[in-house]
Symmetry: C2
DNA sequence: TTATGATTTTATCAGTTGATAGGTTTCTGT
DNA sequence: ACAGAAACCTATCAACTGATAAAATCATAA
């Protein structure tokens, strides 16, 4: 019934969706406001009715991206929280399949293209979406003795989380992973992370 | 005596150096030919006397960057080749300290901004500079029983090399690492890579 | 000295970019 | 039906981009 509201949401949401696809694929600089508008089927100045400027649109894209990941990771951790190996595998697999094609590019854009205030806000969202959920897995693992003693090995939850995230988020080829290959890769990552490449002595 | 030759080299080399710093820090798109020229102390059209176009300059920057890394890694491997743990640590530490501040951005630029023929050439150089040297460490480790059986664990040399490279090359913060922090991080990476986060049973 | 070629400069172009002003259409609540 | 707001459009701007043409400077070899 509230056609106005739906209409706003439709345009707004479509712009964010299109922008996310382009920004994450090509990077902030390589995507023009005209290209976004064209794909949305609107004219370029209309974008500026929905968003203050290009940066604001990018920030909104990042927020929606991070929020989606936060929801998904919490779900996975709730489901497999009792089995740390399976939990890490599922998290790794999910990120591999659903992350932006080039997270390195995304981090670079956040660092170089946004202002201080935006950066801080995105940082907050990033921590809640990626860092805390994954660190919580390792924290539980340490408590239950499935992860080495951090004091001896340096395996504190947050550094461990970043180690896993670095492992996942970088990819020297930007290829989109196929399902079974991503599963294989996630399994390899998880195995190495937990048990290492050296044979048991 | 050959003043002409020196002069060419001076300009040429200075342009490449300045361009490398800017390209690696800001990314291909964010660096204008005018900015490079300004820092070099020359006018922008002069760049086009030394390089066919912006892309050609970027390719040259990448080549010099990769060549430097190739030389360094071969040196390290020759020196510590008999001790796989120390060798991996030294390689990890060296890359952490000397890599471009954002390798993710670099990969993205290679993938999206270069043509097919340039991409293939850079790929060749990349393999010789990073992939083969690091894979050779794991290959030796497998032969000598310091790395698990690849058939059982999936720890083939090249996937293992990429695992380590992914670990190193990504950094969600683009901060320049300080020496002792990089050493600590390299040690942590090497330890996890070889022995895993799970305690020995 | 002088001719030649390498190097660099000035002037300029055409295309793209993010952004704004001002008018027009569309929708909504009364 | 109508007032007001929201959504969208046309036209346009100033800045910046990579690139080229043509002239000027410079070093070098004869």
């Amino acid at each position: 019934m509230n056609n106005q509201f739906e209409h706003i949401n439709n345009s707004h949401q479509k712009i964010v969706e299109v922008a996310r696809e382009l920004f994450m694929e090509m990077g902030y600089r390589a995507v023009s406001t005209r290209k976004i508008a064209e794909i949305c089927g609107i004219t370029q100045p209309t974008l500026y009715h929905h968003f203050k400027n290009k940066k604001a649109l990018y920030v909104e894209v990042l927020k929606s991206e991070l929020l989606k990941m936060q929801t998904a990771l919490r779900e996975i951790i709730k489901k497999h929280g009792n089995d740390i190996e399976e939990c890490l595998f599922q998290v790794t697999y999910h990120i591999l399949m659903n992350k932006p094609s080039s997270m390195g590019q995304m981090f670079h854009d956040i660092e170089k293209e946004l202002g201080e205030e935006d950066k801080k806000e995105i940082d907050k969202w990033w921590i809640e979406s990626y860092q805390l959920p994954i660190a919580s897995i390792f924290e539980k693992g340490i408590k239950e003795g499935q992860i080495r003693n951090p004091i001896e090995f340096g395996s504190y939850p947050i550094p461990s989380a970043y180690l896993l995230l670095n492992l996942i988020s970088s990819n020297y080829r930007d290829v989109q992973l196929q399902e079974h290959i991503a599963k294989e890769q996630a399994r390899f990552y998880t195995n190495v992370l937990l048990y290492g490449l050296a044979p048991l002595r």
